[in-house]
Symmetry: C2
Subunit: 213 residues, 2 copies
Amino acid sequence: MINIKLTPRQEEIIRLVKENHPITSETLASNLGVTRAALRPDLAVLTMIGVLEARPKVGYIYSQKPSYSMIYDYIVDIKTKDIMSKPVVVSEETTVYDAIIHLFLNDVGTLFVENKGMLTGAISRKDFLKIAMGGTDIHKVPVGIIMTRMPNIIFVEKEDSAYLVAQKIIDHEIDSLPVVERIFEEGKEQLKIIGKVSKTNITKLFVKLGQSK
Amino acid sequence: MINIKLTPRQEEIIRLVKENHPITSETLASNLGVTRAALRPDLAVLTMIGVLEARPKVGYIYSQKPSYSMIYDYIVDIKTKDIMSKPVVVSEETTVYDAIIHLFLNDVGTLFVENKGMLTGAISRKDFLKIAMGGTDIHKVPVGIIMTRMPNIIFVEKEDSAYLVAQKIIDHEIDSLPVVERIFEEGKEQLKIIGKVSKTNITKLFVKLGQSK
């Protein structure tokens, strides 16, 4: 982990710019009793990390804006496999009632459905609520009937960036995405579920970003 | 918005270090046909932004790690009021059935409950599902009976950082937090609900961080 440690002189430059901006490098140099050339590396650093802004013919301005591109670079480097958690999976024959019990016991918002080890569907808390209030006999109806079925399920793969996952969650208004491995069998592509990423995983990642001070 | 734009020479330094690290500043200077002194500002910048790491008596190493503290600084600067959305509110007398209809029509995961304009409770999709599958007559029971009631509701205020909100969401395993204003009336503190922040808002913020390239 790398922290930006400013030198005492750089701190002093920031203080001077904060109080007197816009301020030219000449004024800064004379205030600090050094030459402009001696100041150049410090000003380059402070401008590059975004604490100061250099305006041509005006001088230096205090900005304190972060470098967005560095945040971006950091975020796209985080992979789905780094943040995914264990999916809770049921079979298509599971009754809606039993599936809801699974949902509560595992404290998740979405169940995924498998058939012969391959992903065939997904059911969210919202889907369950719709059925439960509708007067259907949830002890008799299997989840295979009410689930969202492939190919209508948005999924991601383990090497996809966490950023892409978050984008898909927002764009498609989904709580939880399955992480799959593509398997070719009998000339057909099948999806094996190996994880899931939900808004909870993204929120946890956000908290982690903030903790890494 | 400030982007870090590296100079062609800095890009060249990164390439040289990547291919030959560890590499001393002497070797770098002779490779580039410049003096060590001329290289100093570039190396200072690249070390400070975390692309290179300087190891005493060893030389420069390619690192490409981000500056966590800058990400942290950026994140704590975002306020709850910058990311909150409109809360969906019902009264304590609303029946569970009507409340669920509200939940679906507004496409939210949590409803907040008010009495005389003040926050008194919250009900999540999970709470509704529990009731709906339990055989209760949801047309007769008012939400006031099943909701989580103050003071058991975790809340935030509009000047709190988005980071704090995310942390509370994770620590307390909650989907959505009310944003409140404290009001003193008849010697008692009351909470007026002015917004909400959910995992969706945090996920959207995360996507926005990545987009600001």
